[in-house]
């Protein structure tokens, strides 16, 4: 698959916004790009100020500008227009591809403000971990929360754990590497594995992590697996060693789906995982770089 910007959401096509475009039948993507440098926050302001904006179901934001400007102004604009964006169910902050900007250089802001301002929001996707905050809040509409980073600050994990999302079904966090902002340890991840924290949670992703082996060991026998249908540890540095804990776990066998795409598993281990029971995706396995005889494992998105 060619990695692409979001093309479909809530059953609607996602298309780059052109001034004069119709509202309602499509979801628009607004942002600065190599081919179209015209985007500024004022473009977004005008887009949201249109009376027809009350009909938009979702909004996708690309790059705020050429030089990695912050999403803070964009977040503030969305919050300011929130009262009349009554149909809005999805916000994607940072639909930015690998070659457009380094994920760890995307300057986010406090996305907790969005969750507080849009109580009916169903899905929030955030890409980029720099300056990312999630001021703890309650939101009973939210069912899907996805935060992709090349390196997540431990503080953000704490903030997520302090939120009240009674209807959250899918939680996906890309933890990343300490070279690009990951400041946590396993101890920061464990509170998220408390059963009952998000009572409706059925799908958990702890992706792109350089502590994937530790996570696999810790999660293998935790009660959270009893409520999950899907576990996603893809894009990390999971090796056979970590996979052994998953294979040995009775609870893992009870999952419907186990995503281990793009780690560092050997064929033999992949075969054993495939016969565990859950539908396993273990494609795209990497081999470590070897420098001076020492293997070096790296996460999928670490710049």
């Amino acid at each position: 698959m060619i990695d692409d910007h979001m093309t479909e959401w809530f059953g609607l096509p996602v298309e780059d916004y052109q001034p004069g475009a119709e509202y309602g039948t499509k979801i628009h993507r607004l942002g600065y790009s190599y081919d179209d440098e015209s985007f500024t926050p004022e473009v977004l302001n005008e887009y949201l100020a249109d009376p027809l904006a009350s009909s938009i179901k979702g909004i996708v934001l690309g790059m705020p500008g050429e030089s990695g400007e912050s999403f803070t102004e964009i977040i503030n604009l969305l919050v300011a227009h929130a009262p009349k964006l009554t149909s809005l169910r999805g916000i994607f902050l940072g639909d930015i591809l690998q070659e457009e900007n380094e994920m760890s250089w995307i300057e986010q802001g406090d996305v907790g403000l969005l969750l507080a301002a849009f109580p009916d929001l169903e899905e929030l996707r955030v890409r980029g971990g720099s300056s990312l905050e999630l001021t703890p809040c309650a939101n009973s509409g939210l069912s899907r929360l996805i935060i992709e980073t090349g390196g997540m600050r431990a503080e953000v994990l704490k903030q997520v754990a302090q939120c009240s999302f009674p209807n959250l079904e899918h939680l996906e966090l890309w933890l990343g590497t300490d070279e690009y902002g990951w400041t946590g340890t396993l101890a920061d991840v464990l509170p998220l594995l408390e059963p009952g924290l998000f009572p409706r949670l059925v799908s958990l992703g702890l992706r792109n992590s350089e502590i994937a082996n530790e996570i696999a060991e810790a999660i293998a026998d935790t009660p959270i697996l009893d409520q999950l249908e899907a576990l996603d540890l893809s894009g990390g540095t999971l090796t056979d060693e970590g996979a052994e804990f998953l294979i040995a776990s009775g609870k893992v066998r009870g999952l419907s789906r186990l995503n281990l795409f793009r780690n560092f598993l050997t064929d033999a281990t992949v075969q054993r995982l495939n016969s565990l029971g859950p539908k396993v995706d273990a494609g795209g396995q990497e081999e470590p770089d070897v420098y001076d005889g020492t293997p070096h494992y790296y996460v999928a998105v670490g710049e």
Binding site: M1, I2, D3, D4, H5, Y34, D35, E37, G65, E66, S67, G68, E69, S70, L97, Q98, E99, E100, N101, E102, W105, E107, G235, R262, G284, A300, V301, E303
Partner: protein, 381 residues
């Protein structure tokens, strides 16, 4: 009756390219080419008349990867380089004492000026001896100057990334990035080959810098040179980036805007398309987890097939059309290696490079022929 061509081959004997071409001639049932070693050709006093006797076609292969040939070309470029007075210069008499390079990038402008002079002489001999070169020497010379190549492509309406001209040093890079508003650029040595000295450079609003390159600084000098380590790495320290940029710029380098490339399952890719006689023939996919793809050539058909499937028929056709258009801008080149980038998300294309000697693709067959055989198959005299 159609006569078989009789080739002269200007090359470094024993090189993979020379052997590949000889094997292709045998496979096509042609008379063995008359081999003219660069080392002989470039030596003062060489007589081209005997070399070109009784041949009608000329195949030119790269003079690279041969220390003595490098010294001879530097000697030829000495006068021009001295006259320009802009780039590192090695006096004619010192050229023969130059030790082997071991991957060091040095005297690239002088080398190019020598190479350019040699090629223009060959052009003149081709006219004099009624010889048809497979690739016009003057066009080969043009393809060894990235700035001139860009101008040719731009004039032909072929999509290329925007450029901000020749970069003098890091400070100049910063002022050009300020002036254009580009925070993501490629720095490319004008006369380099493959990824030698190429840097992918990004900065952001918070003053962070990042550069990806295979160039490493040679230690122990106030103006250190650089060496191609053949391994890509990331630099984040602005001072290290400054020193490396300064060193690359000493050899003449240009700034291009960073064209965001497509990725396939998280890996950047581009395509090397060998265009032969106007037809896009062999295609190799080059993938990397870094923004520079040159060092990672993947020739498996499977890989290409997955790219074609991912792009879909119309975008694949558009890509091949762009590659053909790029090659058509060099009508004197029977064979061109076009490096084609697909835009992020899969739409749009731009040309990264056009290579005069871009047809060295191992094990890659098109209609059952390797690139040398394919080039001969549609060569008419």
């Amino acid at each position: 009756m159609i006569r078989s061509p009789r080739f002269a081959l200007l090359a470094n004997p024993g090189s993979r390219r020379a052997l590949g071409f000889l094997a292709a001639c045998r496979a096509r049932g042609l008379e063995a080419p008359r081999i003219i070693p660069w080392e002989n050709w470039l030596r003062p006093g060489f007589d081209p008349a005997t070399a070109f006797e009784d041949v009608d076609s000329l195949r030119i292969e790269t003079p690279a990867e041969h220390p003595e040939v490098e010294r001879l070309l530097l000697r030829m470029g000495a006068e021009g380089c001295l006259r320009e007075g802009l780039y590192p210069f090695l006096a004619e008499e010192d050229c023969r004492l130059l030790p082997d390079d071991n991957g060091v990038l040095r005297y690239q402008r002088q080398w190019y000026l020598g190479w350019h002079k040699a090629l223009l002489e060959i052009d003149a001999f081709c006219v004099r001896f009624r010889l048809r070169p497979m690739s016009q020497p003057s066009e080969i010379a043009l393809l060894f100057d990235k700035l001139a190549t860009r101008e040719r492509l731009e004039h032909a309406g072929v999509p290329i990334p925007s450029a901000a001209g020749i970069c003098r040093d890091f400070d100049d890079l910063v002022s050009k990035m300020d002036a254009t508003g580009w925070n993501r650029v490629f720095l490319k040595p004008c006369h380099g080959s493959s990824a030698s000295g190429v840097m992918a450079i990004a900065r952001d609003a918070r003053g962070r810098w990042q550069a990806t390159t295979s160039a490493v600084l040679e230690d122990g000098s106030p103006a250190p040179g650089i060496r191609n380590s053949k391994q890509l790495r990331r630099l984040g320290d602005p001072e290290a980036i400054r020193a490396t940029v300064d060193a690359v710029c000493r050899e003449r380098a240009l700034i291009e805007r960073w064209f965001p490339k497509a990725t396939l399952n998280g890996k950047v890719f581009d395509l090397r398309v060998v265009v032969i006689g106007g037809t896009p023939a062999h295609v190799a996919v080059r993938t990397s987890r870094f923004p520079i793809t040159n060092l990672h050539l993947h020739n498996q058909r499977g890989e290409l097939q997955s790219v074609i499937e991912a792009l879909g028929e119309s975008r694949w056709k558009a890509a091949l059309d762009t590659a053909s258009a790029a090659a058509a801008a060099f009508p004197g080149c029977h064979v061109c290696g076009v490096d084609l980038m697909i835009g992020a998300g899969g739409s749009g294309q731009a040309i990264a490079e056009v290579n005069a000697f871009g047809d060295l693709l191992h094990h890659e067959l098109w209609q059952g022929m390797d690139p040398w055989e394919a080039a001969l198959a549609c060569w008419k005299i």
